[in-house]
Amino acid sequence: EKGSPTVVGLLVLGNIIILMSGLALFAETVWVTADQYRVYPLLGVSGKDDVFAGAWIAIFTGFSFFVVASFGIGAVLCHSRGMLLTYLLLMLIVYVFECASSITSYTHRDYVVSNPALITKQMLTYYNAPTSQGQELTRFWDRVMIEQQCCGTSGPLDWVNFTSAFREATPEVVFPWPPLCCRRDANFNPLNEDGCRLGHQDYLFTKGCFEHIGHAIDSYTWGISWFGFAILMWTLPVMLLAMYYYTIL
């Protein structure tokens, strides 16, 4: 009864799926670490950048899934106990790492985007602050506010209702919010500075940027955590089957 063809067939099929989704995970997490939305400074400044740590781990595990699953197919087809044991050990290690990646990524996503408080506080602390972190975050917010046509985290009133590094430099009567919250014409001049300062909706971005930031971080986390989770859910029965196969070999 050495390796019934059904078990071997299932193992090969399962491993083919694992190796393909491993490659997909690899590609996707490369996309995440490339940070197309360029939100890394936001996470880096407050040390909650482990969403990206999760992505780096998943690059490793995605590729490992590819390699180990290929090896596993060989092990199953060769009916070799030693190879199968190696496969199981390696797969177990990769499995644990992938779990870590998935959990880390989602936990830190919760810290950052479960409510806007952290990002608001960070924005108020660092925007316009004369430190290197301040410069980095100021650049980030300037870019996001212009590109996304938004202002503040939840809206322009974030700048008004709280003290901030920006408020220390610019009293409310001078400008209640950063001038980059003003709507601009094609040549990048404010449409109407008085209207913007007063807060007329045609001259000020009244939408907050949190939606955009939350969307970016959520899509990263979905890729890392949920896709990783799905792969792990699939890997579990395949590995259990491989263990069974190991015992009967």
Binding site: I103, Y106, T107, D110, N115, F162, D194, L198, G199, H200
Partner: protein, 287 residues
Amino acid sequence: MCPLWTALALGWLPLSLAVDLEPQMASITFATNNPTLTTITLEKPFCMFNASNLGNVSYEVNLYVMENSGSVRYAVIKNNRSFPINSTFQETAGGQRAPYKAASFILPQCGDLPNLDEAGDVSKVAEILSAYLVRVGDNGYCSLNPNFKGTCNPPLTRATEYRFKYVLINPSSGFVEDQTLWSQPIRTNQISPYLEIDTWPGRRSGAMIVITSILSTLVFFLLVGFAAAVIFSFVSMGSSDLETQHESQISQEVVPKAQGSSEPSYSSVNRRQSLDRAEVYSSKLQD
């Protein structure tokens, strides 16, 4: 029927002398940040005063400001000769003791209201904003300048409630002609320190709990399964070793008879050969 009509007529009588409207805050479309720390933006009194009284004369309107307190009911804005008072911000301690005159402008004609929809037009916005809005607390410099003449409108105090009143002045006589009610108290904004923002994420999201708990459980199962597999295979290997030992002993008993040799190494080689042969046979059988 008759008493009802008289009651209604009598009820209207005092109201026709004074407007029963009050100053309103500007629409949020125009002023997202209203009230601010030191300013409150109001709508100008459009068509508030009884239009039938007004001819083509351009009436003047005074805006009076007062801190909200119990004495607002007794606050007077005209002297006993019916002239409007001219007290300033400094004289009334910023409206704490009595109303002060914060602004004075020509009454906008009810006929030519600014078209507020055109405020999106860059060329018209400045005009529309000045026609529509009056900002209390807009002038930060007049109170610092001792030589300042005219109506001073210095910044208000933060986190303080204010009430407002528009007063219509007859341009020819200079008498108070009409006035609105005191507005509802409007509170200037309060700024809170950003350090007090609580960044604790609060309840964990369901997804995080699902991922963490399920994955931990799966890892546990896998480890247990792996341990079981290894132990089971060792046990079965041990038992099969015993079986093969018995078999080899048997074959050893058989082999010396056939070949006359008693070397254990030789016998094990022999056994492997026989096993390999068995494999070949079985694969041939399968084919």
